[in-house]
Protein backbone atom coordinates (compact mmCIF):
# COMPACT_ATOMS: atom_id res chain seq x y z
CA UNK A 1 0.00 0.00 0.00
CA UNK A 2 1.41 3.39 -0.93
CA UNK A 3 1.67 6.06 1.70
CA UNK A 4 -1.10 7.96 -0.06
CA UNK A 5 -3.50 5.00 0.18
CA UNK A 6 -2.47 4.36 3.76
CA UNK A 7 -3.19 7.91 4.77
CA UNK A 8 -6.43 7.98 2.78
CA UNK A 9 -7.66 5.01 4.80
CA UNK A 10 -6.53 6.70 7.98
CA UNK A 11 -8.40 9.92 7.11
CA UNK A 12 -11.56 7.95 6.32
CA UNK A 13 -11.29 6.18 9.63
CA UNK A 14 -10.78 9.43 11.55
CA UNK A 15 -13.74 11.09 9.85
CA UNK A 16 -16.14 8.15 9.96
CA UNK A 17 -15.54 7.50 13.65
CA UNK A 18 -16.01 11.19 14.39
CA UNK A 19 -12.56 11.42 16.00
CA UNK A 20 -12.01 14.63 14.06
CA UNK A 21 -14.47 17.04 12.49
CA UNK A 22 -12.18 17.91 9.61
CA UNK A 23 -8.93 16.88 8.02
CA UNK A 24 -6.80 19.37 6.14
CA UNK A 25 -4.73 17.85 3.35
CA UNK A 26 -3.81 18.28 -0.29
CA UNK A 27 -5.57 17.78 -3.61
CA UNK A 28 -4.43 18.34 -7.20
CA UNK A 29 -3.83 21.96 -8.14
CA UNK A 30 -4.11 23.91 -11.35
CA UNK A 31 -0.97 22.36 -12.84
CA UNK A 32 0.62 18.93 -12.49
CA UNK A 33 3.26 20.10 -10.02
CA UNK A 34 0.91 22.17 -7.86
CA UNK A 35 -1.21 21.12 -4.91
CA UNK A 36 -4.16 22.85 -3.37
CA UNK A 37 -5.39 22.57 0.23
CA UNK A 38 -8.24 20.13 0.73
CA UNK A 39 -10.66 20.44 3.63
CA UNK A 40 -12.29 17.08 4.22
CA UNK A 41 -15.41 16.91 6.38
CA UNK A 42 -16.75 13.53 5.22
CA UNK A 43 -15.03 10.21 4.42
CA UNK A 44 -16.08 10.52 0.74
CA UNK A 45 -14.13 13.74 0.34
CA UNK A 46 -10.96 11.87 1.27
CA UNK A 47 -11.03 10.24 -2.19
CA UNK A 48 -9.57 13.44 -3.61
CA UNK A 49 -6.60 13.33 -1.27
CA UNK A 50 -3.14 13.47 -2.80
CA UNK A 51 0.10 12.96 -0.94
CA UNK A 52 3.30 13.14 -2.93
CA UNK A 53 6.51 15.12 -3.27
CA UNK A 54 4.63 18.17 -4.57
CA UNK A 55 2.86 18.60 -1.20
CA UNK A 56 5.33 21.17 0.07
CA UNK A 57 3.04 23.93 1.33
CA UNK A 58 2.80 24.34 5.10
CA UNK A 59 -0.90 24.03 5.95
CA UNK A 60 -0.57 25.01 9.63
CA UNK A 61 -1.90 28.52 8.99
CA UNK A 62 -5.38 27.19 8.20
CA UNK A 63 -5.74 26.02 11.80
CA UNK A 64 -5.99 29.56 13.11
CA UNK A 65 -8.88 30.40 10.79
CA UNK A 66 -11.50 32.17 12.84
CA UNK A 67 -13.82 29.79 14.67
CA UNK A 68 -12.30 26.55 13.39
CA UNK A 69 -11.12 25.31 16.78
CA UNK A 70 -13.53 27.23 19.00
CA UNK A 71 -15.93 24.27 19.41
CA UNK A 72 -13.24 22.15 21.10
CA UNK A 73 -13.57 19.46 18.43
CA UNK A 74 -10.43 17.96 16.96
CA UNK A 75 -9.00 18.64 13.54
CA UNK A 76 -6.58 16.48 11.59
CA UNK A 77 -3.90 18.01 9.44
CA UNK A 78 -1.12 16.84 7.14
CA UNK A 79 2.17 18.32 8.28
CA UNK A 80 5.83 18.01 7.47
CA UNK A 81 8.32 18.56 10.31
CA UNK A 82 8.33 22.32 9.63
CA UNK A 83 4.54 22.32 9.91
CA UNK A 84 4.71 20.48 13.22
CA UNK A 85 7.11 23.15 14.46
CA UNK A 86 4.62 25.78 13.28
CA UNK A 87 1.79 24.37 15.36
CA UNK A 88 4.11 24.15 18.36
CA UNK A 89 4.78 27.86 18.00
CA UNK A 90 1.10 28.65 17.53
CA UNK A 91 0.37 26.68 20.72
CA UNK A 92 3.20 28.38 22.61
CA UNK A 93 1.75 31.73 21.56
CA UNK A 94 -1.70 30.65 22.77
CA UNK A 95 -3.23 30.67 19.30
CA UNK A 96 -4.49 27.10 19.46
CA UNK A 97 -4.89 24.19 21.82
CA UNK A 98 -2.46 21.54 20.69
CA UNK A 99 -4.65 18.73 22.06
CA UNK A 100 -7.20 19.55 19.38
CA UNK A 101 -4.78 18.80 16.58
CA UNK A 102 -4.30 15.32 15.13
CA UNK A 103 -1.07 15.33 13.17
CA UNK A 104 -0.77 13.22 10.03
CA UNK A 105 2.97 13.53 9.71
CA UNK A 106 5.00 12.99 6.57
CA UNK A 107 8.37 13.99 5.26
CA UNK A 108 9.71 14.42 1.76
CA UNK A 109 13.11 12.92 1.11
CA UNK A 110 14.13 13.54 -2.48
CA UNK A 111 11.61 11.65 -4.58
CA UNK A 112 10.17 9.74 -1.65
CA UNK A 113 7.41 10.53 0.79
CA UNK A 114 7.78 8.91 4.18
CA UNK A 115 5.24 8.64 6.95
CA UNK A 116 6.20 9.99 10.36
CA UNK A 117 5.21 8.01 13.42
CA UNK A 118 3.05 9.89 15.86
CA UNK A 119 -0.31 11.49 16.29
CA UNK A 120 0.02 14.52 18.53
CA UNK A 121 2.62 17.23 18.13
CA UNK A 122 4.48 16.04 21.24
CA UNK A 123 5.21 12.66 19.60
CA UNK A 124 7.61 14.35 17.20
CA UNK A 125 9.80 16.05 19.78
CA UNK A 126 12.73 13.66 19.24
CA UNK A 127 12.58 14.33 15.51
CA UNK A 128 12.55 18.10 16.01
CA UNK A 129 15.38 17.78 18.51
CA UNK A 130 17.51 16.03 15.90
CA UNK A 131 16.67 18.70 13.30
CA UNK A 132 17.86 21.33 15.76
CA UNK A 133 21.07 19.43 16.44
CA UNK A 134 21.81 19.26 12.75
CA UNK A 135 20.83 22.88 12.08
CA UNK A 136 24.31 24.42 12.56
CA UNK A 137 25.94 22.13 9.99
CA UNK A 138 23.04 22.22 7.55
CA UNK A 139 24.16 23.70 4.23
CA UNK A 140 23.67 27.44 4.24
CA UNK A 141 22.23 29.17 1.26
CA UNK A 142 25.28 30.37 -0.71
CA UNK A 143 23.51 33.64 -1.38
CA UNK A 144 23.50 34.42 2.36
CA UNK A 145 27.30 34.07 2.44
CA UNK A 146 27.52 36.21 -0.64
CA UNK A 147 25.39 38.96 0.91
CA UNK A 148 27.44 38.87 4.09
CA UNK A 149 30.65 39.34 2.12
CA UNK A 150 29.32 42.58 0.66
CA UNK A 151 29.91 45.95 2.27
CA UNK A 152 26.83 47.75 3.68
CA UNK A 153 26.43 49.92 0.60
CA UNK A 154 26.35 46.90 -1.71
CA UNK A 155 24.01 45.08 0.64
CA UNK A 156 21.68 48.05 0.72
CA UNK A 157 21.72 48.18 -3.08
CA UNK A 158 21.14 44.44 -3.34
CA UNK A 159 18.02 44.56 -1.18
CA UNK A 160 16.85 47.79 -2.72
CA UNK A 161 16.88 46.09 -6.12
CA UNK A 162 14.96 43.15 -4.69
CA UNK A 163 12.47 45.26 -2.75
CA UNK A 164 11.88 47.70 -5.58
CA UNK A 165 9.91 44.93 -7.29
CA UNK A 166 7.60 44.49 -4.29
CA UNK A 167 4.02 45.42 -5.09
CA UNK A 168 2.85 45.28 -1.47
CA UNK A 169 0.30 42.59 -2.17
CA UNK A 170 1.06 41.12 1.28
CA UNK A 171 0.90 37.61 -0.13
CA UNK A 172 3.92 36.79 2.06
CA UNK A 173 1.88 37.75 5.09
CA UNK A 174 -1.24 35.88 4.01
CA UNK A 175 0.72 32.73 3.23
CA UNK A 176 2.66 32.72 6.50
CA UNK A 177 1.28 30.52 9.29
CA UNK A 178 2.86 32.88 11.82
CA UNK A 179 1.12 36.03 10.53
CA UNK A 180 -2.15 35.61 12.37
CA UNK A 181 -2.61 39.15 13.77
CA UNK A 182 -6.13 40.41 13.13
CA UNK A 183 -4.70 43.85 12.65
CA UNK A 184 -1.28 43.85 11.08
CA UNK A 185 1.10 46.70 11.88
CA UNK A 186 0.93 47.87 8.26
CA UNK A 187 -2.83 48.21 8.58
CA UNK A 188 -2.53 50.48 11.60
CA UNK A 189 -2.81 54.12 10.68
CA UNK A 190 -2.83 55.85 14.05
CA UNK A 191 0.09 56.23 13.96
CA UNK A 192 1.06 55.07 10.52
CA UNK A 193 4.41 53.42 11.16
CA UNK A 194 5.08 52.11 7.71
CA UNK A 195 4.57 53.84 4.41
CA UNK A 196 1.69 52.07 2.74
CA UNK A 197 2.70 53.15 -0.75
CA UNK A 198 4.63 50.67 -2.77
CA UNK A 199 7.71 52.84 -3.24
CA UNK A 200 11.07 51.36 -2.36
CA UNK A 201 11.22 52.99 1.08
CA UNK A 202 7.81 51.64 2.03
CA UNK A 203 8.76 48.24 0.66
CA UNK A 204 12.02 48.22 2.61
CA UNK A 205 10.26 49.14 5.84
CA UNK A 206 7.57 46.53 5.32
CA UNK A 207 10.07 43.78 4.62
CA UNK A 208 12.27 44.72 7.58
CA UNK A 209 9.33 44.67 9.96
CA UNK A 210 7.95 41.47 8.50
CA UNK A 211 11.32 39.79 8.98
CA UNK A 212 11.66 41.19 12.49
CA UNK A 213 8.26 39.88 13.52
CA UNK A 214 9.29 36.45 12.24
CA UNK A 215 12.68 36.42 13.95
CA UNK A 216 12.86 33.37 16.16
CA UNK A 217 9.44 32.23 14.92
CA UNK A 218 10.08 31.32 11.30
CA UNK A 219 10.45 27.59 10.64
CA UNK A 220 11.62 28.10 7.06
CA UNK A 221 8.68 26.40 5.39
CA UNK A 222 9.06 28.74 2.42
CA UNK A 223 5.37 29.62 2.07
CA UNK A 224 6.20 33.36 1.80
CA UNK A 225 8.91 32.79 -0.75
CA UNK A 226 6.64 30.69 -2.97
CA UNK A 227 3.73 33.11 -2.57
CA UNK A 228 5.76 36.14 -3.66
CA UNK A 229 4.62 37.06 -7.18
CA UNK A 230 7.85 38.94 -7.90
CA UNK A 231 10.23 36.35 -6.41
CA UNK A 232 11.84 38.38 -3.65
CA UNK A 233 14.11 35.92 -1.76
CA UNK A 234 12.32 36.45 1.55
CA UNK A 235 13.58 33.10 2.76
CA UNK A 236 17.13 34.47 2.91
CA UNK A 237 16.28 37.10 5.51
CA UNK A 238 14.24 34.65 7.55
CA UNK A 239 17.02 32.06 7.42
CA UNK A 240 19.60 34.65 8.48
CA UNK A 241 17.48 35.65 11.46
CA UNK A 242 17.00 32.00 12.34
CA UNK A 243 20.78 31.54 12.43
CA UNK A 244 21.08 34.59 14.63
CA UNK A 245 18.63 33.45 17.32
CA UNK A 246 20.13 29.96 17.25
CA UNK A 247 23.66 31.29 17.62
CA UNK A 248 22.93 34.05 20.12
CA UNK A 249 20.19 32.51 22.26
CA UNK A 250 20.29 28.80 21.35
CA UNK A 251 16.70 29.20 20.24
CA UNK A 252 15.25 26.92 17.59
CA UNK A 253 11.66 27.82 16.81
CA UNK A 254 8.91 25.29 17.45
CA UNK A 255 10.62 22.75 19.71
CA UNK A 256 7.56 22.23 21.88
CA UNK A 257 4.22 23.77 22.74
CA UNK A 258 5.69 25.20 25.94
CA UNK A 259 8.77 26.83 24.42
CA UNK A 260 9.04 30.48 25.39
CA UNK A 261 9.08 32.89 22.43
CA UNK A 262 12.63 34.15 22.02
CA UNK A 263 11.79 37.84 22.07
CA UNK A 264 9.41 37.51 25.02
CA UNK A 265 12.01 35.93 27.26
CA UNK A 266 15.57 36.74 28.30
CA UNK A 267 18.58 35.53 30.19
CA UNK A 268 20.49 37.82 32.49
CA UNK A 269 23.73 36.87 30.77
CA UNK A 270 22.59 37.43 27.19
CA UNK A 271 25.36 38.72 24.97
CA UNK A 272 25.71 42.49 24.87
CA UNK A 273 29.03 43.08 23.16
CA UNK A 274 27.51 45.79 20.99
CA UNK A 275 26.31 47.98 23.85
CA UNK A 276 28.48 50.99 24.71
Amino acid sequence: MTIQEKYKARVKELLSTGAVKMVIGYKPGSTAERRRPLFMRSPEEADQLVLDTACIANLAGYLVAEGLLSDDKRVGIFLKPDGIRSINILAAEAQLNIDQIVVLGFDIDGQEVNALEGESAGDFSALIESIKDHAPEAPRNPLIEQIEQMNPIQRFDFWQTEFSRCIKCYACRQACPMCYCRRCIVDSNQPQWINTSSHTLGNLEWNIIRAFHLSGRCVGCGNCDRACPVNIPLRLINARMGQEVLGAFDHFAGMSETQEPVLASFKKDDSETFIL
Partner: protein, 149 residues
Protein backbone atom coordinates in the same frame (compact mmCIF):
# COMPACT_ATOMS: atom_id res chain seq x y z
CA UNK B 1 30.79 65.33 1.68
CA UNK B 2 31.11 68.98 2.61
CA UNK B 3 33.08 70.03 5.68
CA UNK B 4 30.00 71.60 7.23
CA UNK B 5 27.98 68.40 7.45
CA UNK B 6 26.31 68.15 10.83
CA UNK B 7 24.56 64.85 11.49
CA UNK B 8 21.07 64.61 12.86
CA UNK B 9 21.01 62.05 15.63
CA UNK B 10 17.89 60.84 17.38
CA UNK B 11 18.34 59.47 20.89
CA UNK B 12 15.65 57.26 22.38
CA UNK B 13 16.26 57.19 26.10
CA UNK B 14 14.56 55.82 29.15
CA UNK B 15 13.31 58.37 31.61
CA UNK B 16 14.71 56.74 34.74
CA UNK B 17 18.36 56.42 33.82
CA UNK B 18 19.66 57.97 30.63
CA UNK B 19 17.28 60.92 30.60
CA UNK B 20 18.16 61.66 34.20
CA UNK B 21 21.82 61.21 33.26
CA UNK B 22 21.33 63.76 30.49
CA UNK B 23 19.75 66.06 33.06
CA UNK B 24 22.79 65.64 35.26
CA UNK B 25 25.04 66.51 32.32
CA UNK B 26 22.99 69.68 31.94
CA UNK B 27 22.95 70.68 35.59
CA UNK B 28 26.68 69.93 35.77
CA UNK B 29 27.13 72.45 32.92
CA UNK B 30 28.83 69.87 30.71
CA UNK B 31 29.08 70.79 27.06
CA UNK B 32 28.21 68.25 24.43
CA UNK B 33 27.42 68.23 20.73
CA UNK B 34 24.06 69.81 19.89
CA UNK B 35 23.31 67.26 17.14
CA UNK B 36 21.26 64.97 19.27
CA UNK B 37 17.47 65.15 19.62
CA UNK B 38 16.39 63.35 22.73
CA UNK B 39 13.12 61.47 22.90
CA UNK B 40 12.17 60.36 26.38
CA UNK B 41 10.34 57.08 26.87
CA UNK B 42 9.28 55.22 30.01
CA UNK B 43 11.67 52.31 29.53
CA UNK B 44 14.00 50.82 26.93
CA UNK B 45 11.50 47.98 26.79
CA UNK B 46 9.11 50.54 25.29
CA UNK B 47 11.47 51.35 22.44
CA UNK B 48 10.01 49.56 19.47
CA UNK B 49 12.09 48.90 16.35
CA UNK B 50 9.39 50.94 14.61
CA UNK B 51 10.81 54.04 16.31
CA UNK B 52 14.21 53.42 14.76
CA UNK B 53 12.72 52.96 11.29
CA UNK B 54 10.56 56.05 11.77
CA UNK B 55 13.59 58.12 12.73
CA UNK B 56 15.40 56.95 9.59
CA UNK B 57 12.28 57.66 7.55
CA UNK B 58 12.34 61.24 8.87
CA UNK B 59 15.94 61.70 7.76
CA UNK B 60 18.07 60.79 10.78
CA UNK B 61 21.74 60.08 10.07
CA UNK B 62 22.29 58.20 13.27
CA UNK B 63 20.33 56.76 16.15
CA UNK B 64 21.19 56.23 19.78
CA UNK B 65 19.20 54.00 22.06
CA UNK B 66 20.05 54.16 25.73
CA UNK B 67 18.69 53.04 29.06
CA UNK B 68 19.44 51.64 32.48
CA UNK B 69 22.26 49.19 33.10
CA UNK B 70 21.16 45.55 33.35
CA UNK B 71 19.72 44.97 36.79
CA UNK B 72 18.81 48.65 37.28
CA UNK B 73 15.56 48.75 35.32
CA UNK B 74 12.74 50.56 37.09
CA UNK B 75 10.42 47.85 35.81
CA UNK B 76 12.94 45.14 36.84
CA UNK B 77 13.50 43.58 33.42
CA UNK B 78 12.44 45.93 30.62
CA UNK B 79 16.04 46.42 29.56
CA UNK B 80 16.71 42.67 29.41
CA UNK B 81 13.89 42.28 26.92
CA UNK B 82 15.14 45.30 25.02
CA UNK B 83 18.65 43.87 24.85
CA UNK B 84 17.45 40.72 23.09
CA UNK B 85 15.31 42.71 20.72
CA UNK B 86 18.21 44.98 19.75
CA UNK B 87 20.55 42.07 19.25
CA UNK B 88 18.13 40.62 16.71
CA UNK B 89 17.12 43.92 15.15
CA UNK B 90 20.72 45.02 14.77
CA UNK B 91 21.57 41.86 12.83
CA UNK B 92 18.52 42.35 10.66
CA UNK B 93 19.43 45.95 9.84
CA UNK B 94 22.98 44.92 9.12
CA UNK B 95 21.84 42.14 6.79
CA UNK B 96 19.57 44.53 4.88
CA UNK B 97 22.38 47.04 4.45
CA UNK B 98 21.65 49.63 7.12
CA UNK B 99 25.11 49.98 8.67
CA UNK B 100 25.20 49.05 12.33
CA UNK B 101 27.64 51.94 12.92
CA UNK B 102 24.70 54.29 12.56
CA UNK B 103 22.61 52.65 15.24
CA UNK B 104 24.23 52.79 18.67
CA UNK B 105 23.15 51.30 21.94
CA UNK B 106 24.35 52.18 25.41
CA UNK B 107 23.65 51.87 29.10
CA UNK B 108 23.86 55.17 30.98
CA UNK B 109 22.71 55.48 34.57
CA UNK B 110 21.26 58.54 36.26
CA UNK B 111 24.67 59.17 37.85
CA UNK B 112 26.62 59.05 34.60
CA UNK B 113 26.29 62.63 33.38
CA UNK B 114 29.89 62.58 32.22
CA UNK B 115 29.46 59.35 30.33
CA UNK B 116 26.40 60.84 28.62
CA UNK B 117 28.25 63.93 27.47
CA UNK B 118 31.24 61.91 26.27
CA UNK B 119 29.06 59.40 24.48
CA UNK B 120 27.10 62.08 22.65
CA UNK B 121 30.36 63.66 21.53
CA UNK B 122 31.87 60.39 20.34
CA UNK B 123 28.69 59.22 18.61
CA UNK B 124 28.38 62.58 16.87
CA UNK B 125 31.99 62.35 15.73
CA UNK B 126 31.51 58.83 14.42
CA UNK B 127 28.39 59.70 12.48
CA UNK B 128 29.98 62.88 11.16
CA UNK B 129 32.81 60.77 9.78
CA UNK B 130 30.33 58.38 8.14
CA UNK B 131 28.63 61.33 6.48
CA UNK B 132 24.95 61.71 5.66
CA UNK B 133 22.96 58.53 5.15
CA UNK B 134 22.62 59.21 1.44
CA UNK B 135 21.26 55.84 0.42
CA UNK B 136 18.31 56.17 2.74
CA UNK B 137 17.81 59.83 1.88
CA UNK B 138 17.57 58.94 -1.79
CA UNK B 139 14.72 56.61 -0.93
CA UNK B 140 13.01 59.37 1.04
CA UNK B 141 13.39 61.74 -1.91
CA UNK B 142 11.91 59.11 -4.19
CA UNK B 143 8.79 59.02 -2.01
CA UNK B 144 8.36 62.75 -2.44
CA UNK B 145 8.73 62.67 -6.22
CA UNK B 146 5.57 62.65 -8.31
CA UNK B 147 4.49 59.21 -9.46
CA UNK B 148 5.79 58.09 -12.83
CA UNK B 149 3.80 55.93 -15.17
Amino acid sequence: MSESFEPKIIAFVCTYCTYTGADLAGTSRLKYAPNVRIIRLPCTGRISPMFILKALQQGADGILVSGCHPGDCHFTHGNYHARRRWMVFRTLLDFTGIPSERIKFSWISAAEGHKFAELINSVTDDIRKLGPFDQYKNLIRETEAPATL
